[in-house]
C-alpha cells in the first residue's frame, strides 16, 4: 500500500525525515511520535505535498506527487484548520467533492451523508465561523471521508474533541477499518492510537524507531535494562532483598521509593510475590517507569544509536 525507500526530506539544514524505509500492507496503522518528530512531514510526503530530497515514495503503487488518479483513492485530513469562515460546512464539503470530479447531484448527496456520519447533520448549514473546535474537526473529517477513498490519512484527528466526541470518532474509524479500508493516523498520544489499531509506527527525530504491535515493540525491549519503581514501608530492607536475590543490576532508594534497574523484568515480576511472602515485607505501589511513552522513545533512541 505504502512504500518508502530511503526517504530523506531536508528543509534547508533542518532534517524533517531521515533515511526512512518502510513498507505497509493495506490495514490500519498509528503513526506515533512526540511533537516535532516528523509525523507531519511524513504525511506530507505520502500525500504528495512534499518531494523527498532523497529516496522514493510510492502510495498504492504510484508516486503521489501531482497524481490526480491517486488523489481520487485517498482522503486526507490535515491537522491545520483551513476552513472558510463564511461558508457552511455543507457548502465546503460539497465544494471539495466537486473538486473530486463528482457531479453536482452526487456531491450534494455525498456531502450530506458524510456530515451525517460524523454527527454534523444538525449544524451543517450553519456558517463555519459559528462552529466550535470539535465541530470543525468533525467537518474536516467529513471532507476526508465523503468521496469514499480506499486510504484515509488523518493528522491528529482527536484534537479539539471532548471525551464523548472521541468515543464517537473512534467508533467511526473502527467501522471504517471494518469495511476493509486502510487508515494511517498520526498522534502523539499512545492511548488514542491503541483505541483504534494495534499496529503502530514509532517515529522520533525524523527516524522510524520501531513498527509493529504493542507486544512486538515490548518484545523488542525485553532484554534491555528496565526500570521498575516499588514503594514500600521498609525500602532499605526491600532493596537489600533484591540485591541478595540478584534480581537487580542497580538499586536506588529515594523518599521511600525503590527504583530497580534490571535486564530481566519478567523474572522480577514472577519471583517478587514469593519473596515478599517469605520476608513479610510490604509493597504498596509498583509501576514500570518504562511504560511511559517518553521512556519508550528514549530506550528506542538508545537502541537506534547502539547505546543498548
Amino acid at each position: 500500500m505504502i512504500e518508502l525507500r530511503n526517504v530523506t526530506k531536508l528543509y534547508g539544514r533542518v532534517i524533517g525525515v531521515n533515511d526512512f524505509t518502510l513498507t505497509l500492507e493495506p490495514g490500519a496503522y498509528g503513526l506515533l511520535g512526540p511533537n516535532g518528530s516528523g509525523k507531519s512531514t511524513l504525511l506530507n510526503l505520502i500525500t504528495g505535498q512534499l518531494r523527498p530530497t532523497l529516496g522514493t515514495v510510492r502510495v498504492l503503487g504510484e508516486s503521489p506527487r501531482n497524481n490526480a488518479r491517486l488523489f481520487r483513492r485517498m482522503g486526507y485530513c490535515p491537522g491545520s484548520e483551513g476552513l472558510y469562515a463564511n461558508v457552511s460546512g455543507y457548502e465546503w464539503v460539497r465544494y471539495l467533492l466537486r473538486l473530486h470530479g463528482l457531479s453536482s447531484q452526487r456531491a450534494t448527496s455525498a456531502a450530506g451523508e458524510a456530515l451525517e456520519l460524523v454527527g454534523m447533520s444538525h449544524a451543517m448549514h450553519r456558517s463555519i465561523a459559528s462552529y466550535s473546535r470539535g465541530m470543525r474537526q468533525r467537518t474536516k473529517l467529513a471532507q476526508a471521508l465523503a468521496h469514499d477513498p480506499e486510504l484515509l490519512i488523518l493528522d491528529e484527528p482527536f484534537n479539539g474533541f471532548d471525551p464523548v466526541g472521541r468515543h464517537e470518532l473512534t467508533c467511526v474509524l473502527r467501522d471504517w477499518i471494518g469495511f476493509g479500508k486502510s487508515l494511517i493516523f498520526a498522534s502523539h498520544l499512545l492511548h488514542e492510537i491503541e483505541s483504534i489499531t494495534q499496529s503502530f509506527l514509532l517515529i522520533c527525530g525524523g527516524r522510524l524507531l520501531a513498527s509493529g504491535t504493542a507486544e512486538e515493540v515490548h518484545a523488542m525491549m525485553a532484554g534491555l535494562p528496565n526500570e521498575v519503581a516499588l514503594r514500600s514501608t521498609e525500602p532499605h530492607a526491600l532493596a537489600a532483598l533484591l540485591l541478595r536475590e540478584r534480581a537487580a543490576d542497580s538499586v536506588r532508594v529515594v523518599d521511600g521509593c525503590v527504583t530497580v534497574a534490571t535486564q530481566h523484568p519478567a523474572r522480577l515480576y514472577d519471583r517478587l510475590p514469593g519473596w515478599l511472602a517469605e520476608t513479610g515485607l510490604e509493597v504498596t505501589e509498583m509501576h514500570s517507569a518504562d511504560e511511559s511513552l517518553q521512556a519508550l522513545f528514549n530506550s528506542l533512541m538508545k537502541m537506534h544509536r547502539g547505546e543498548l
Partner: protein
Amino acid sequence: MTGNVAAVFLFEWRRALTLPRMAWWALLAAFPAFIIALIRFTALSSPPRDLWAGTLYALVPMLVSMLGTLLWATPAVSSELERRSWVYLAVRPHGGVAVLLGKYLGAVTWVVSTALVGLTMAVLIADSDDGWRLWWTMARLACLACPAYGAVYLLIGTVLPRRAMVLAVAYTLIFELVVGLIPAVVNKLTVQYRLRALLVEWCDLEIPGGRQSGALALIGDAPPWQHIVILMFLTAGLLFAATLVLRWSEFASSAETDV
C-alpha cells in the same frame, strides 16, 4: 479538469457576493465616474476628445484593470496558504491547478464587470460627442487588459506567494509604468505598450510629432490584430508558466505550526 475549474469559479463567485467584496466592487466601479465628474464639473468648458480618451484609458484599462486584478488574482495562492486551506485543495485531483485557473477566471470576470460598469458611468458623465467610440475602445481594451494583468499577477503570486502584493505593485510601477515608457525594445515586453498602441489606433489619436517622431517607439506601427494576438499569447503563456510553477512548488502543512 474543466469541471474542477468551473467548480472553483462558481464557488469563488458565490464567496464574492459578500458586503466587503461588493464594497470593493462598488468603489472601483465608481472611481472612474468620480474622476470624470471632477474634471467635467471643474473645467470651464468641455475638454477635448483626446483628453477624455487619455483620461478614460488611464482610469479603466489601466487603473481599474490593474487594481482589480491586483486584488483578486495576486493572492490566489497566498490567501489559501495564509488561511492554511491550501492542502485541502491540493489533495484533490488537479486541485492546485483548478484552484489557480478557477480563481483567475473569477478574478478576471469580476474585474471586467467592474471596468465595464465604471466605464459606462464615466462615459455618460463625460458627455463627449464621441462617447460611443470612446466606450467601445475602452471596453475592448479593458477586456484585453484584465486577462493579461490577471495572468501577470497570478504568476507573481505563484512564484512568490509570501510577498505577492508588494512585488506585484513593484512590477507595475517599475516595469509597466517606467520601463513601458522607455522608447526601446524593452517596452515591447510590457502590456502597456500593446494597450497604448491599440488606443491610438482605435481612437485615432494624434501622435505628438507625427508618425515619424520618437513617440512612435512608444506605440509601434504594427497592425492592431498583431497586438491582440501577442496579448493573447502572452496571457496564455503566463498562465501556463504559473501552472508549471505551481506543480513544482511545495507547500507543506503542519499541525504543530497551526496557531
